[in-house]
């Protein structure tokens, strides 16, 4: 049952009711039961996969903590041990904990690879084989993709790596870990939480807090507004443009990219608002995934504001470990001697960035589109990293240009333009079509297409476009206000009547102008097939 269904709303209402009536010690177990019920409503067969992941991570984490505890107690019993004996023992423990970590990661990422990427992998192998022989490896057709597998696999992988680094001890209660893995609002489109950030509020008992609930409900409604009124309306036009590249070429590709940017933003941030809102209903804090990404002035900043938890995950668990890994260090040293300091400085960053962006691209989907999308991002960031001296000289010449609003707007527009181009990879079915479509913007702009008839032919009426445009304006206005503080606080200060009017109006807009029900398919969150 997707977010946009009455059953989900009823499900949450019942869960909240029970949550605050049950005795405090049954609160988090109730959430676990709710999460299992939610998961079962999709497909019972998925249970096996999430259970295997949870148990394997729990067991490996406990073993690692146990080994470290044994090491510490051994050191306490033998204080007289001198330095290198201690070092030897530490190395032994490290090797064992490393073995457990690798086993667990291989298992979980193996499942993810088998279910999500195997066909893509075989397809490429076949492509290579077909060069010199006709034989083909058969692909698997009946592959199950459990709900939110990419999310919970990455969440648990982050957890066990942290335990291995010794940042905190493993959770002893397997049910608590199960709840952390399968907390139902985060199953559909993340965020990819960190155990120490979510665990305190997830397992703690909460008493009814009127303000928190009110704010949570407001946020949920705002999420539904973005998702149902705007995203699900625009998706009809985006699909129409994207599925017919021959007919909608030239400037229509750019229009499609802009519509897709608005639709993707409303869909994803709407979904996250609902997730965070529902979590807050239970008093659970879930990390933010977006911080007004379209206001960022450069790509690096964009990736610190869009899908934050995925970015930080890859930074902490791919980028840093890779940079500090021994082989890379050796390579840096080798380059330092051979090619001098300049190259040596860049080697770890390039290697780690490429791996990071390859991973992010592949995470989004098992096709070359996404991998090239990732590489595109990587290229832009590395290039802008290289150009920093140029930027510094430019800023030196114009000292306080940063402050000027026209410069800032230019940066924002430039960043969004680049991201829109990169997002074309998401839209078109394969890489050649994407490049052809992108090329056609400049080669054959065909501005003639920019007529009312074309737009009406996309399956949306004039009224639809006006509603979507008005909605986007409203979101823009709210984002402007948000820069100075929480909008909900401001509304709360204005008293009950005003607040009731605002949210009653929002409720009416969602019910009337929502693109849901027969004729609209609104349950396919873009990010829910991950």
């Amino acid at each position: 049952m997707g977010f946009v269904s009455v059953w989900f709303i009823l499900f949450c209402a019942v869960a909240v009711l029970l949550y605050y009536t049950l005795p405090k010690k049954w609160q988090w177990p109730l959430l676990l039961v709710a999460s299992c019920a939610f998961y079962a409503s999709y497909d019972l067969r998925y249970f096996g996969f999430i259970a295997v992941t949870t148990v394997s991570v729990y067991f490996a984490a406990c073993r690692i903590s146990l080994l470290r505890a044994r090491q510490n107690s051994y050191f306490q019993e033998h204080p007289e041990l001198e330095k290198d004996a201690k070092k030897a023992y530490k190395a032994k423990t490290k090797k064992k904990t490393w073995a457990w970590l690798i086993a667990c990661l291989l298992l979980n990422f193996g499942i993810l690879f088998a279910l999500k990427y195997i066909n893509f992998f075989i397809g490429n192998i076949n492509a290579i084989i077909s060069i010199f022989s006709e034989s083909k490896i058969p692909t698997f057709d009946k592959l199950l993709l459990p709900l939110g597998i990419s999310y919970y696999t990455f969440k648990t992988a982050g957890y066990i790596i942290d335990v291995y680094f010794g940042r905190y001890e493993a959770e002893k209660n397997i049910f608590k870990l199960a709840l952390f893995t399968s907390f139902f609002p985060t199953l559909l489109n993340g965020p990819i939480d960190r155990f120490p950030l979510t665990a305190p509020s997830l397992f703690a008992s909460h008493s009814w807090d009127e303000k928190r609930t009110r704010f949570a409900l407001q946020r949920i409604m705002w999420g539904y507004f973005k998702k149902v009124v705007i995203a699900d309306r625009l998706v009809v036009a985006v699909i129409a443009i994207v599925s017919d590249p021959e007919k909608y070429t030239g400037v229509m590709v750019a229009v499609g990219a802009l519509l897709y940017a608005a639709e993707l933003y409303c869909d994803f941030t709407g979904g996250i608002d609902i997730t965070i809102g529902v979590a807050n209903l239970f008093g659970v804090e879930v990390s933010e995934n977006f911080l007004r990404p379209f206001f960022s002035k450069n790509i690096a900043e964009y990736w610190r504001r869009w899908h934050i938890t995925l970015g930080t995950w890859f930074k902490d668990y791919t980028f840093y470990p890779l940079c500090t890994a021994k082989p890379v260090m050796k390579l840096t040293k080798f380059c330092k001697n051979k090619f001098g300091a300049g190259v040596a400085k860049r080697v770890p960053i390039y290697v780690a960035s490429i791996v990071l962006w390859f991973g992010t691209g592949a995470w989004h989907g098992a096709s070359w589109n996404f991998i090239l999308w990732g590489m595109g991002n990587c290229l832009v960031i590395l290039v802008s990293q290289e150009l920093t001296p140029l930027y510094k000289r430019f800023h030196a010449k114009h000292p306080n240009i940063d402050g000027k609003w026209h410069y800032k707007t230019m940066c924002i527009i430039r960043t969004n333009a680049i991201m829109c181009c990169l997002r074309l990879f998401d839209c078109y079915k394969d890489v050649p079509t994407t490049f052809k479509a992108f090329g056609s913007i400049f080669a054959k702009p065909s501005f003639g297409l920019l007529t009312g008839k074309t737009f009406l032919g996309l399956g949306l009426s004039a009224a639809d476009y006006i509603i979507a445009f008005a909605g986007i304006l409203l979101i823009f206005a709210v984002s402007m206000i948000q820069r100075r503080g929480s909008v909900r606080e401001m509304i709360a200060k204005k008293g009950f009547a005003f607040r009731l009017a605002v949210f009653a109006l929002l409720f009416a807009v969602i019910i009337v102008f929502g693109a849901y029900g027969l004729g609209y398919d609104s349950n396919s969150f873009i990010y829910s097939k991950f």
């Binding site: 032919g457 006006i466 509603i467």
Partner: protein, 177 residues
């Protein structure tokens, strides 16, 4: 704060514009909100075609294009409309066959051609009065068969051969829903 209030006012203005754009105007008929199939796209017949009077047409052809060319109609066309809505379903009578169309897809499109006697034949040469084996010799194994007859499914339409006392008593090209 002033600037954002300005934007909020703009949003309200746009909303009003949307509402009155097509709101209070009197609109009859429940045409669906999303634009219907772009008009003017010519309808192409699919599957087995039927030829008469030098005109080749079939299930899916637009009535307007072919109905005059088929020559003289033996009777006035009979139109029956669906219960509540103004959907139309018309039958045109010719000497040895009948053509029916409806406006489900917005324009008048043929959905059935019914051959009554052996003075006409299908393009492939089958006609009323043949035995099932003779038909199968032309078209091969049917996709569906029952005691009332057998049919060949092709690209969204069916070519039906009806049987009475072991002989083909009627042939019809019918849309395959």
């Amino acid at each position: 704060m002033k600037k954002t209030l300005l934007i909020l006012l703009l949003v309200l203005a746009v909303c009003l514009m949307a509402a009155c754009n097509s709101g209070t105007g009197e609109t009859s008929g429940t045409e669906s909100e999303a634009a219907s199939t772009p008009s003017g796209s010519e309808h192409k017949a699919t599957g087995y075609l039927f030829e008469y009077n030098g005109v080749s047409f079939g299930v899916g052809s637009a009535t307007a294009d072919i109905i005059e060319k088929l020559g003289e109609q033996t009777e006035k066309p009979y139109t029956s409309n669906s219960c509540a809505f103004n959907g139309k379903d018309t039958v045109y009578y010719f000497a040895s066959f009948e053509v029916s169309d409806n406006d489900e897809t917005g324009d008048l499109v043929i959905y059935s051609i019914y051959l009554k006697d052996d003075t006409v034949a299908t393009k492939e040469g089958a006609y009323v009065g043949m035995t099932p084996d003779e038909v199968k010799a032309i078209y091969g194994e049917p996709s569906e068969s029952s005691d009332g007859g057998f049919s060949y499914v092709k690209e969204g339409m069916k070519l039906n051969f009806f049987l009475k006392d072991g002989v083909v008593s009627a042939i019809s090209y019918y849309v395959n829903k």
